[in-house]
Symmetry: C2
Subunit: 244 residues, 2 copies
């Protein structure tokens, strides 16, 4: 009764009692999902970089996770999530994003700090807590950065959007999502009012990776293409034909 009879019989925990995963394992699955959109094969080194670990550590871990049926792995060929792994990844993603939405909506957290806090809480929060948080802020469908929140059942909108860097001059668009991992960048985007929901129009794009000039809610400003590539947008049809 000392609680570490882990090498149990893997028969008992049937279809529904989803195996309780450790924090690191959840992080691996989340990272694999993020890099492979769930189905594409993910390279060891990319995973190592994303997780900030040595490639050797990743090799060892993925072998174990493959043994647990969470992913399929072929030496030298990268990994792919199995259905079980994908479900686990989406569960963690839901936790993460609901927590972000809650921190922002209920506790007035600034959007550049919700990611790090959620990164830790996602491994400790119960399903009940996550559900209550979601209910308390009106069952949000995206987190504060515009990332879609998977449903309780594990479905998620995987629409791919254009990045602001890819948008042609003259086009208008609505910001749907921005990358969430760099607080510094988020603070800057916030200052510029480039956030989900904002409408903008690309005025001009300087050649050779030059600055992109645009208007956001009336204000004109210019940003580099590297930053622009982190901003996902949905073109506004009614402004489609550029005037020139």
């Amino acid at each position: 009764m000392k609680g570490n009879k882990r090498a149990h019989l893997s028969i008992a925990k049937s279809s529904f009692e989803e195996e309780a995963l450790t924090g690191p394992v959840e992080d691996y699955l989340k990272a694999i999902y993020a890099l492979g959109r769930g189905s594409v094969s993910v390279a060891t080194n990319d995973l190592a970089q994303k997780l900030d670990l040595a490639p050797a550590s990743v090799s060892g871990m993925v072998r174990r996770l493959a043994g647990q049926g969470l992913l399929s792995y072929e030496r030298y060929r990268g990994v792919t999530l199995t259905e079980a792994g994908r479900r686990a990844a989406l569960r963690t993603l839901r936790r993460h994003r609901v927590i972000e939405a809650y921190l922002s909506g209920a506790l007035d957290y600034p959007w550049d700090r919700v990611h790090d806090e959620a990164e830790r809480l996602e491994h400790a929060a119960s399903d009940e807590l996550v559900d209550r948080m979601a209910a308390a802020v009106g069952e949000p469908v995206t987190d504060p950065h515009g990332a879609p929140i998977p449903s309780r059942e594990g479905d998620m909108d995987e629409t791919e959007y254009l990045s602001l860097a890819e948008l042609g001059a003259g086009y208008g668009a609505r910001v749907v999502r921005v990358s969430d991992e760099d607080p510094e960048m988020l603070r800057y985007l916030g200052e510029l009012e480039i956030m989900p929901g904002a409408e903008l129009v690309v005025i001009s794009k300087a050649p050779y990776e030059g600055p992109i000039t645009l208007t956001v809610s009336g204000t004109m400003l210019a940003i580099g293409p590297q930053l622009a590539s982190q901003v996902m947008v949905e073109p506004l049809i009614d402004l489609e034909a550029p005037a020139h």
Copy 2:
């Protein structure tokens, strides 16, 4: 830059950068504080029982914690928290109780389930989150079970109260606190409306550990002495002299 240069130089982390402790270490310190009220020496076996670990594991851990200056330890003589250990314990206790108060006050958690959730979140929540939670529910001074919440500075009201079992027949009292670890018991106490703030009067106490009859907000009921000992009360002076 791989993040595990733990065997650093213990010089760098000076007076203020409070060493980040692991979950288990926080649990040990909290348990030692709970058993020793911060200053009394705590026995290895008691600690093992409280933490649900084998005594041998505790022996090993306390040796390490003594090395880190969190407690003082003399073989075969039990442990006592040092000032640093005491501070760390109270920090964890504050997190735990603020989280409980928040779950109850802001997310409508039933009082029998806040403990387990807080037990996990207390190791993951940042100071900022805990402070925001405290502010959001009006800087509570106790958790939902009546346990005092340490201040940010690490001060805590350590008043000792009488238990309901010790209260004489005829006396009136106000419930200040109940033990928080047994959900079953909390649900029962909740049904009986025996919760912090409730006023009650002991009508009679049957001898030989017999039932205690009392009235709680008008209703008369009887409980066993074992349950009564888990309920801490503050006698009401104006009802002091029993009528008989």
